[in-house]
């Protein structure tokens, strides 16, 4: 049923339709509305047979989900930003134990400086924890990916993170098609665990494994991701059969077939990128884009097949590996390791800085003109940085950088009479 609603509440309804049995809630902006929404559905009785547990930290949230999942329940939680880091140990543990927990990440920057706005640093910080990571382009896809995530997680016995951009999607009101319970039930069978804590058939889960077998266990985690590469598109196909729309899959190419320049990105910025592609196509530029829906597993071959025909690739990413450059771009390069195609890194949208269509068109044109550095920071205020570098060179005790920059920006604005 079509509805105009907030992304978080749409996801809450989708989760409820998946009949989770244990949901753990801990507030952190911007995912909070999701667990609030689920909590309300439990309170009203619309979501039956579900334990909604308010816990004391993100570490506990995922730990409760670990216990619940190991005991055979369908378990869900949501987090963001610092919460990801606070539960990082449990994230690796759930991945290592192969527990099919589904977790929403309302993507948000990580401090310091503390920042509540959107970027992808949180998800990237745990990209190699053995979880499947799916990125939603819009709220419909966010909703749909959660439904697919439970099936994927439980088929493979592997946890899945569904990433949706904080505020940009979580707080956006837009049109979403909420499926019926019958549709979701037809798509998502009940959870049949591969391992379960059962007094009738006791075994020990989570014991120590030494050097003699650790590599094999880790290899199997890798193998599981490789299986996911096959299952993700297949599940998206089944989803289309049941729900009548395309959602999920490994990646979404847009005008990619004949593109000389291809833009690769994760998440909601793909919408703005598509608008930029349309405008630039009208201007005669052979531009296209690829939205990466699955970041883990990373579709090396599938992405390589799309990118190989392009003359250049521009990766627009909301994450930064200080001392290296792009996180996503490094992965994208691997899909082109047998090709000389240049891959530009554009770091954009950090800590919620708006990524504008105009800004995107500018960097794409710079790339076409071969006038883009290997790593480019979109809309970087280079003057501010120069002044701060100078300050810190001149004064040993130059004070906290973040505050200096904010003061600098305020005084510049003041001088302009703003």
């Amino acid at each position: 049923m079509l509805k105009q609603m907030e992304g978080s509440l749409g996801v809450a309804q989708a989760i409820a339709l998946c009949r989770p049995e244990v949901v753990c809630a801990y507030p952190i902006t911007p995912q909070t509305h999701i667990v609030e929404g689920i909590g309300a559905l439990v309170k009203t009785g619309e979501l039956e047979n579900c334990e909604f547990i308010n816990v004391e930290s993100e570490f506990a949230a995922l730990s409760v989900a670990i216990g619940a999942s190991a005991a055979g329940a369908r378990a869900y939680t949501a987090t963001a930003s610092q919460g990801i880091l606070y539960m990082a140990e449990a994230i690796y543990n759930a991945g290592g134990l192969g527990l099919p927990i589904v977790m929403t990440v309302g993507n948000r920057a990580i401090g310091a400086p503390i920042n509540i706005w959107n970027d992808h640093t949180d998800a990237m910080s745990v990209k190699d924890a053995g979880w499947i990571q799916l990125f939603a382009e819009n709220n419909q896809e966010a909703l749909d990916l959660h439904i697919q995530a439970f099936r994927l997680a439980e088929e493979l016995s592997c946890p899945v993170m569904v990433c949706m951009d904080g505020f940009i999607l979580t707080h956006a009101y837009e049109r979403v098609d909420i499926p019926t319970q019958a549709e979701v039930d037809a798509f998502l069978p009940p959870y049949e665990p591969v391992q379960v804590l059962d007094p009738a058939d006791p075994y020990s889960i989570g014991a120590m494994v030494g050097p003699e077998a650790f590599t094999e266990v880790r290899y199997l985690a890798h193998d599981k991701q490789l299986q996911a590469l096959k299952r993700i598109p297949e599940i998206a196909d089944v989803f289309k059969d049941v729900f009548g729309r395309e959602s999920g899959g490994l990646l979404h190419p847009y005008h990619a077939d004949d593109a000389e320049t291809l833009v690769v990105a994760l998440g909601s910025v793909n919408g703005t990128i598509k608008d930029a592609v349309d405008t630039m196509r009208e201007e005669g530029h052979a531009v296209g884009s690829v939205s990466l829906c699955s970041f883990r597993p990373f579709p090396l071959a599938e992405l390589g097949d799309v990118l190989r025909h392009a003359a250049r690739v521009v990766v627009v990413e909301k994450s930064l590996a200080p001392g290296l450059g792009g996180v996503v771009a490094s992965n994208v390069r691997m899909s082109l390791r047998d090709s000389p195609t240049p891959v530009y890194t554009v770091i954009a949208g950090l800590g919620g800085r708006p990524i504008t269509k105009a800004g995107l068109e500018r960097v794409i044109k710079d790339a076409i003109a071969d006038d883009l550095p290997d790593v480019h920071f979109l809309d970087l205020e280079t003057d501010v940085i120069a002044r701060e570098l100078e300050r810190s060179r001149d004064t040993r005790r130059s004070g906290p950088t973040a505050e200096n920059i904010l003061k600098d920006l305020a005084s510049v604005a003041g001088n302009r009479g703003e």
Partner: protein, 190 residues
């Protein structure tokens, strides 16, 4: 695509106004996207929210920097925040105030716009009258329906009742209706 930017202060229902507007557009089978300026603003701090309305899927995720209409819920923002930034030259301006544009010190600026595109109305007073609280957003949406013609009053009413079922919604609907009538009258006179 029609883009609306709403300025106000935390606690005035700025974000809710954008959401209601998007629901009203949805009721008319249009695509709409509403989102806040993503702050951790407390009560009283300047707040911005956006709403895009279109006949096809809205893909852009950037903030509205070139609005086709402005709704200004608090006139004290006129001289502290660059509320008019990027406004379409044929755009609409709706201000929550009973004072004249001259009193507000913006008569020269609004004179550049078509006269039936600019309007101020005492939405807070209408809210106090009907709702009992100084929350001007519903009334302003009624006014927006009248001045912009982008949505029907009935759609605004529908949106309000969907989000606030019961007495609170009904009271807000009354405020929106009175604002719609008042702005329609001003528009005719302009």
């Amino acid at each position: 695509m029609f883009q609306v930017r709403i300025h106000g202060r935390g606690g005035q229902g700025v974000v809710t106004a954008a959401e209601l507007l998007s629901i009203a557009a949805f009721v008319e089978d249009k695509h709409a996207q509403a989102f806040p300026s993503f702050g951790s603003e407390r009560m009283g701090a300047p707040v911005v929210a956006f709403c895009r309305i279109a006949d096809r899927e809205i893909r852009s995720r950037e903030p509205v920097s070139h609005p086709d209409a402005l709704i200004i819920q608090d006139p004290t923002l006129l001289h502290s925040v660059d509320v008019f930034s990027g406004l379409n030259k044929q755009g609409y301006i709706l201000i929550n105030s009973r004072r004249t544009f001259a009193d507000l010190g913006i008569d020269d600026f609004v004179a550049k716009f078509p006269p039936d595109h600019v309007c101020d109305i005492g939405a807070t007073e209408l809210a106090v009258k009907h709702v009992g609280r100084p929350v001007p957003n519903a009334a302003l949406l009624g006014g927006f329906a009248a001045i912009s013609g982008q949505i029907q009053l009935s759609s605004v009413e529908h949106a309000i009742m969907e989000k606030f079922p019961g007495a609170v919604g009904a009271a807000n609907v009354k405020a929106a209706q009175e604002a719609f009538a008042a702005v329609s009258k001003i528009k005719e006179e302009a």
